[in-house]
Amino acid sequence: MTPGSFRVSSKKVGDVAVIYPQGYLNNVAGEGLVHECTSYIEKGTKKIVISFSKTELVNSIGISMLLSVIENLLNTGGELCFTDMSKMLKETFEMLGLIKFITTFDTEAEALNYLNTIVLA
């Protein structure tokens, strides 16, 4: 956890966008993440994977930003997957109820497999 070390990177795999928030997911980083997701959604992407493999910590503000992403994607009828969560992160999402709106997988590959099998309107 180094302050200011946040970056967000992403890639496109077919019709799926994979996003990697890195470091400490707080307000600044969260906004970066929302921005990144929004630009994909605006371009018509409906399937998004957020991989937490490079995320060190998510605070409550980061959580509220993730909610924004969920809202945006649900509004367009899209599908969101979370992968590579630490045990604590997963438990946190479960406790707060976020888990209801997303599908979780251990790895990015599993999420991609799943998204490839579904057809969105």
């Binding site: 956890m1 180094t2 302050p3 200011g4 400490y24 707080n26 600044v28 910590l57 605070n59 409550s60 503000i61 959580i63 509220s64 930003m65 909610l67 924004s68 969920i70 809202e71 649900l74 630490s86 045990k87 604590m88 946190t92 406790m95 707060l96 109820g97 976020l98 209801k100 709106f101």
Partner: protein, 563 residues
């Protein structure tokens, strides 16, 4: 007597409560407040708070007339109660205008002679009451007595702040013989509805106090004020100030541990300080404190305090002995006992008797429990009952009892690890706190997963402090205190008080579509820590994060740490 209170400056950490209660008549008039149900453990300072409010209003040039009444066992017969209540009110009312406290105490001239001409209607009130008394009309007397303050307020236009102490006893008001309880507390209903007469009602135990309300319509009109235990450093400062006055030296860490054991209860702290002095000590070391404690809880003021409550609840000594045995049985079984089950057979008494004693113990605050019966966690009460058991049932001598209690606490334990840091209120400063904690976690050998969670709780508490306090100081004060079994982190900031009751539990469905998606911090903290206390200390807000460290949360094997 409302006047025998401690100097205002000695009454620590309740400034906000005093101010709020003094403003009650004003708030009530503007429909911003109702009546107050003042709750708090035995000895937490409820009576003292009322008296402080009383004195402060009394000596101010205030349009509010204070009236304090404490229910007493001796005056629970309706006609006697009515007479007492009425007389007390008249005396206090007149005394307020003449600023002559001796009128309240009942010395000095007869109160009637001190009535100012503007309040001549008081004489009519007194005459009417006398008529009812002569006629033996107890209902009329009761009604006249409890509505006297409302009557006075209506006549003078001056609000009367009514403070009713030990109100749980109102349940026991009787007509002709004790026990013919007939819901006489209901007579308070109508004065409580009067806007000019805000009521502050208090007593213990909370469950019994609340049950007075459950049986009457005035339940909905009351708002709750809870006197929580003092924060531990304030409690220690209180012990120190008693010690200072008595010329006794004490040491911070030892005192803090000790007052914590006493649940930071002001009554116990005061009793201990007096007892140390009586023992002729010049110092309050670990040993001295526990020595005086073992004396206090078995035969000192603390014992006296609880004994009187016990004999009030159970008058018959034989029944009291049964109560002590029952209590100790329950103390040994963990959790709540719902069915009396084998208890009657084990103790060789009838089931009905067991049930009756259990109910009486619960009503007096010796037992708690929602559906069944459970011994409260507080160790002082347990030790008191234990020493009664040793004396009355095991026939131990007072010396033996004291020694046995003292021996229980002779281990001093290793000293706590303590340190403080001050964070500037700048972006990401919470990470510094998390980093600092990592160091402590290593010393405590906490599992990495446990460490991580606590770090998150700490980060959230820091963010809250920086965001919500709105302080000019722009600093967050952190105090860490850790022992092998327990970790405490205090996160303090000045500025606006942050009231946890006012924080709604966020609902994910609502948050999802709401513009404000924030507000998860407190919920996260609460899910991680064993206890989260929010305390107000003068102008600072302290969020206290407490975690009891379990064996499985510690790395025992060094190999595990590396993997």
């Amino acid at each position: 007597m409302p006047f025998n209170c401690i100097p205002a400056t000695d009454f620590v950490n309740r400034t906000n409560e005093v101010l709020y209660l003094k403003r009650l008549p004003d708030l009530r008039e503007r429909h911003l407040a109702g009546n107050i149900l003042l709750e708090g453990a035995n000895g937490s300072g409820k009576t003292e708070l009322l008296k402080q409010v009383y004195r402060s209003i009394y000596w101010e040039d205030s349009p509010i007339v204070p009236f304090y009444y404490a229910f007493k066992t001796a005056t629970l017969k309706a006609s006697i109660f009515a007479q007492d209540y009425f007389t007390q009110f008249i005396r206090q009312y007149i005394s307020f205008f003449s600023k002559d406290p001796s009128l309240v105490i009942g010395r000095g001239l007869s109160p009637a002679r001190a009535i100012p001409p503007s309040a001549a209607w008081l004489l009519d009130l007194m005459d009417e009451f006398e008529e009812l008394r002569k006629a033996g009309d107890f209902c009329g007397q009761l009604l006249a007595a409890v509505s006297a303050p409302a009557h006075a307020a209506a006549m003078s236009g001056k609000p009367v702040l009514i403070m009713l102490d030990n109100f749980q006893m109102a349940l026991r008001l009787y007509e002709t013989t004790p026990g013919d309880f007939s819901g006489l507390a209901g007579f308070f209903e109508s004065p409580m509805k009067m806007n000019l007469c805000p009521h502050i009602v208090t007593g213990t135990p909370t469950e019994t106090l609340e049950s007075v309300f459950a049986e009457n319509a005035f339940r909905g009109t009351a708002e709750r004020m809870v006197l929580r235990p003092l924060p531990d450093d304030v409690a220690r400062a209180l012990l120190k100030s008693f010690c200072d006055k008595l010329g006794i030296r004490e040491e911070r860490e030892t005192s803090i541990r000790f007052v914590r054991f006493l649940a930071c209860n002001p009554l116990y702290i005061k009793c201990i300080a007096h007892s140390i002095r009586r023992m002729g000590k010049k110092e309050a070391t670990h040993r001295d404190l526990w020595e005086s404690y073992s004396h206090e809880v078995s035969e000192g003021e603390i014992a006296l305090y609880w004994s009187s409550i016990l004999s009030e609840a159970l008058r018959e000594p034989g029944i009291r002995r049964l109560a002590v045995r029952l209590f100790m049985h329950l103390a040994e079984s963990n959790g709540e006992v719902t069915a009396t089950g084998r208890l009657p057979r084990m103790l060789g008494v009838a089931e009905a008797e067991v049930k009756e004693v259990l109910a009486a113990l619960k009503c007096a605050g010796f037992l708690t429990g929602t559906t069944g019966y459970k011994v409260p966690k507080e160790p002082v009460l347990r030790d008191f009952m234990h020493s009664l058991y040793m004396q009355d049932i095991d026939s131990k001598t007072p010396d033996q009892v004291r020694e046995l209690i003292r021996a229980k606490y002779s281990e001093q334990g290793s000293p706590d690890m303590c340190f403080e840091i001050i964070l500037p209120s700048v972006p990401d400063a919470e990470l510094i706190a998390a980093k600092a904690f990592e160091q402590i976690a290593q010393t405590l050998k906490l599992q990495p997963e446990v460490t991580e969670r606590i770090q998150l709780a700490l980060i959230e508490a820091c963010i809250n402090a920086m965001e919500h306090s709105g302080s000019f100081e722009r600093k967050v004060f952190l105090k860490f205190r850790a022992s092998e079994e327990r970790l405490e982190i205090a996160v303090e900031s000045s500025g606006r008080f942050f009231d946890p009751e006012a924080v709604e539990d966020p609902a994910i469905e609502l948050k999802l579509t709401s513009a404000n998606k924030r507000g998860w911090g407190l919920k996260l903290i609460q899910s991680i820590m064993d206890e989260v206390r929010i305390e107000r200390i003068d102008d600072r807000t302290r969020v206290l994060l407490i975690k009891n460290i379990k064996k499985e949360e510690v790395v025992h094997d060094t190999r595990k740490l590396q993997s």
